[in-house]
Amino acid sequence: MVKITFITQENETITVEGNSGSIMELAVNNTIKGIDGDCGGVCSCATCHVHVAPEYMEVVGPPSEIENDMLELDDNVTEYSRLSCQIPLKETLDGIVLKVAN
């Protein structure tokens, strides 16, 4: 099981566990506020935007070109922005912290 911690816009800290699918799916299944995933996880809607805590950016990795372009739809974009539907859950991500962007 991989543990992921989300910090919502209301500064609520929620740690959840999963072992497959994407971070967006994990967030939706655990009703994390601000992660909607309207398009179902195909990088088409930009409603699953998170800011990766800087110390974990290296392990999470940068967005792809398409993802990077989609992120521009959101005003709240930073160098730590990712669309969580594009981050598959894997062991190496155990313990990371993500701040919900909206």
Binding site: G21, E25, V28, N29, T31, D36, D38, C39, G40, V42, S44, C45, E65, I66, D69, M70, E72, L73
Partner: protein, 411 residues
């Protein structure tokens, strides 16, 4: 907002619009009961993947649920699945459902969506393995039908987005696919000729047999083989027939309730119908789009989600108005199509080819940018969204200059 503790909000239709409005009602502070009805017995699911990854991948059904069961429980949303609502009486604020049950409501939201249009083709009723694609049950049936047949000959009737997506998906599963399209080109109703041509080439290159200007005239069974007879004189052997002939809006309940129904249930900027206690959202609505200043009916996730937000906020007493630029997407093979805006009424389509299989079409009405269609070029889609939203003026000569990076070309 008035106290809603003892009030009942009932939502009819639990797809993208209905599920979202239920959750958004809670978000906006609705304290009372929320009931969510649907005839489909399955836990509400994402529909767009049905014609795409649902067919090709071994995805679990839970993976495509809009929300997990626990979320409905947590938010106090009562699911009434596998139940059909029969008749609404706006005077008494009641409706009947199932076997003669009566339900009161204070607010009713119609998110009734649409059902597949089934064309009147002689022999269709007796035919085997012939079905549309709109629900999870349809996908299960299609997958099973294909698995059971050694020869996987598929005829898709209708070359719209659903027809094309299902054709691409079934091809991936080893099917031999023929598309019969009544019009002179694919996507005739929803896309410009430039885009139709691209998709026609794409599907033909991948091995799909496309017959335009061809109507399915009849379906017969000859010595154990089922044939779809085209009006081009050919008979197409088919182990499976998929109907992608568009939809019929589910307006019967609204009509019987005396609401305004034209090409959809007519709603105002707050998604309210002519009855102040009844709202309508999603594919079933005919609504005014302020940006384009006309009435439209949209079949899209965007509209379902945005109207669900507007209706929930309006029900909870907020002053809010629907004002969205429509957007859509379609995934076929390795091509990602993203569309923003409405291109109807364009007088010029400017095409920018960025690389092989990566281009964008910019639709103008004189100087106004109406819409952008981008194939494997998300940047154009995103920039187009901003330009349309801001009604920004664009130098078309610069935009057409492919030696300029897109960002420079529109600056």
């Amino acid at each position: 907002m008035e106290n809603t503790t003892d009030k009942i909000a009932a939502v009819i239709g639990a797809s993208h619009a209905g599920v979202n409005v239920a959750f958004n009602l809670r978000k906006e502070g609705w304290l009372g009961t929320i009931l969510l009805f649907d005839t489909d017995p399955a836990l509400p699911y994402h529909r767009p993947p049905l014609s795409k990854t649902y067919i090709t991948n071994k995805d679990s059904e839970a993976q495509h649920a809009l929300k997990p069961m626990v979320s409905y429980k947590k938010e106090g949303i009562e699911l009434k699945l596998g139940i059909s609502v029969n008749k609404i009486d706006p005077k008494t604020k009641q409706f009947t459902y199932g076997e003669g049950h009566i339900q009161n409501y204070d607010v009713l939201v119609l998110a009734t969506g649409a059902k597949p249009f089934i064309p009147n083709i002689p022999g269709l009723e007796q035919a085997k393995n012939i079905l549309p694609l709109r629900s999870l049950a349809h996908v299960r049936h299609i997958k099973k039908a294909l698995e059971q047949r050694q020869q996987k000959r598929v005829v898709v009737i209708g070359g719209g987005y659903i027809g094309l997506e299902i054709a691409a998906s079934l091809l991936k599963l080893g099917a031999k696919v023929t598309i019969l399209e009544r019009e002179a080109r694919l996507l005739a109703r929803v896309a410009s000729p430039e885009l139709s041509n691209f998709f026609s080439d794409l599907h033909q290159k991948n091995g799909i047999n496309i017959k335009t200007k061809t109507t399915a005239a009849s379906i017969t069974m000859v010595e154990g083989t089922q044939y779809v007879h085209g009006d081009d004189g050919n008979a197409y052997a088919s182990d499976l027939v998929v109907l992608g002939c568009g939809i019929q809006v589910n307006t019967a309940l609204a009509q019987e309730a005396g609401l305004d129904v034209e090409n959809g249930i007519k709603v105002d900027a707050q998604c309210k119908t002519r009855d102040k206690s009844i709202y309508a959202i999603g594919d079933c609505t005919l609504h005014h789009n302020p940006h384009y200043d006309r009435f439209v009916r949209l079949e899209s996730v965007q509209n379902a989600v945005d109207q669900s937000k507007v209706a929930a906020a309006a029900i909870c007493g907020k002053d809010i108005r629907y004002d969205s630029i429509p957007w859509f997407w379609s995934d076929q093979y390795d091509c990602k199509l993203q569309l923003v805006g409405l291109h109807d009424g364009y007088d010029e389509a400017l095409v920018r080819h960025e690389a092989k299989n990566s281009f964008s079409i910019w639709y103008f009405n004189q100087e106004e940018l109406l819409a952008v269609a981008a194939v494997n070029h998300t940047k154009a889609y995103v920039l187009g969204t901003k330009l349309i939203r801001n009604r920004q003026k664009i130098d078309k000569t610069k935009l057409a200059d492919i030696s300029l990076d897109l960002k420079l070309a529109i600056s």
